[in-house]
């Protein structure tokens, strides 16, 4: 049976997934610097390679920055999700009291607490959905950067053909960068799926609360 991951775990897991992305982006930046050094040595033979390495280097630095931002936001998201879990627990306990203690003289006095927690939950879920969408956009941004990087790497292979004795080295680096892009895309996809799952859960709760 497929057991659904709690939303606060999904959101916390995004940070863990992206820790790998940050590391790979760092490695990518080092590979690019190597490629740049080789291209410099190759001189005129690898003239077209330098702008490509500059672009990928800049992109890997930007990706690391983006990952750091997403990490901070996903920790915040997880904090909100845990607060939601507490609200949910309170709400369920209050409802339990309402059902089981109908004959209590002062049961009506609990209504204000039930209503307060219900509103807090609703507001929390709306906030979580909004926050998750913002994170998904940031993740999309990384995904798109990786797609562009793939195109650039293909171009770099064409440039490498002209680099004669440096060709093998430059192609090997291009392969490394391509592999890194692929891993980052996969990690981003996993994070996006986790967020989609969390958003679905929160949307279901909001719809339930509205109904």
């Amino acid at each position: 049976m497929d057991i659904q991951e709690p939303a606060f775990v999904s959101s916390a897991s995004v940070a863990a997934e992206l820790a790998t992305v940050s590391q790979i982006a760092k490695e990518m930046s080092i590979s690019v610097k190597n490629a740049k050094a080789i291209a410099n040595r190759a001189g005129a033979k690898a003239r077209g390679f330098s702008p490509i390495t500059d672009f990928i280097d800049e992109m890997s630095v930007e990706t690391m920055k983006l990952v750091n931002r997403i990490n901070a936001e996903s920790v915040e998201l997880s904090t909100i999700a845990i607060s939601d879990l507490r609200n949910q627990e309170s709400y369920e306990k209050f409802l339990e009291v309402t059902i089981n203690s109908q004959n209590s003289k002062y049961i009506g006095s609990l209504e204000a607490s039930v209503s307060r927690v219900r509103n807090r939950r609703y507001e929390g879920h709306v906030k979580l959905i909004k926050f998750s969408k913002m994170l998904q956009n940031l993740l999309d941004d990384i995904g798109q950067r990786m797609a562009v990087a793939n195109v650039i790497v293909s171009n770099s292979r064409i440039e490498a053909v002209n680099a004669e004795e440096y060709r093998a080295n430059l192609e090997s680096i291009a392969n490394d960068i391509e592999a890194s892009c692929e891993v980052i895309r996969e990690r981003v996809k996993v994070s996006q799926n986790r967020l989609v799952q969390a958003v679905q859960e929160w949307k279901r709760k909001v719809n339930y609360e509205i109904s």
Binding site: E89, S90, S101, S104, K105, S109
Partner: protein
């Protein structure tokens, strides 16, 4: 959850416990309510597991908005792990608890309730028409620990002192003190770490006029049994897990 009125002269003391719905494997606890005409204090409100049952029982006696104060004698989960839930139910209440444990107790979830730190020497919980004394009970068993004494009702809420481990459904009061010793001896010898702290507490408590000694677990002591308990406890060697 069972509730028994301990005092009713202008205000009430009520004990709650022997919860038949309590999940197996968790220790049974006594919770106390002091209710005046417009305010109420819940003493050692209990753990998360009994929250629903406790709140439901309280609502037989008091409205939610009337509960203005909570007291936690120390930091243990059976005392106050329900705090995060009370925090949602009573957002304007105050929690009186040892200053020593504030940073720890807040881990149970405290966003709305005000934490009122009790200094080591104790103090007073002022419920308007009723004032309760906070009596130091450090190292009995917690390193920052307090009991609550009501000089008018002559009740001492004694936290873990006087506690006993009994099967579910035990009576609320000790009837035969001698036969009760077996149920509380190990608890005191193992959970209480310091003979010095114990004797210091006994000296202080002997100066109080006590009709009911009301622990957080097991039966309550009334009348002569209070003095029998103090004599027994004074003679008891505690902190026995450490061998010479």
């Amino acid at each position: 959850m069972k509730s028994v009125e301990l005092f009713d002269r202008g205000y009430q003391w009520i004990v709650f416990g022997r919860d038949p719905n309590k999940p197996d494997g968790i220790i049974d606890t006594n919770q106390y309510l002091v209710k005046t005409h417009d305010r109420a204090l819940v003493l050692d409100p209990g753990g998360i597991e009994i929250f629903s049952s406790m709140l439901g029982s309280l609502l037989h006696h008091v409205a939610v908005e009337q509960i203005t104060d909570l007291f936690a004698s120390h930091q243990d989960p059976d005392i106050i792990s329900s705090l995060g839930l009370w925090d949602q139910a009573l957002p304007t209440a105050k929690l009186h608890s040892p200053w020593l444990w504030e940073g720890f107790i807040r881990h149970f979830g405290l966003n709305n309730i005000e934490y009122v730190p009790i200094p080591d020497e104790g103090g007073v919980i002022n419920l308007g028409t009723v004032k309760l004394n906070i009596i130091p009970a450090h190292y009995l068993h917690s390193s920052g620990n307090f009991h609550v004494y009501d000089s008018q009702a002559r009740i001492l809420m004694s936290g873990d002192v006087g506690a006993a481990l009994e099967p579910p459904g035990a009576d609320m009061f000790v009837e035969d003190f001698d036969s009760h010793i077996d149920k509380m001896q190990m608890f005191h010898q193992r959970w209480m770490p310091s003979n010095k702290a114990k004797n210091d507490w006994i000296k202080r408590v002997r100066q109080l006029d006590i009709d009911i000694l009301a622990p957080q677990h097991g039966r309550l002591f009334k009348g002569d049994n209070v003095h029998r308990f103090l004599d027994w406890f004074e003679a008891l060697e505690v902190g026995v897990a450490i061998q010479d």
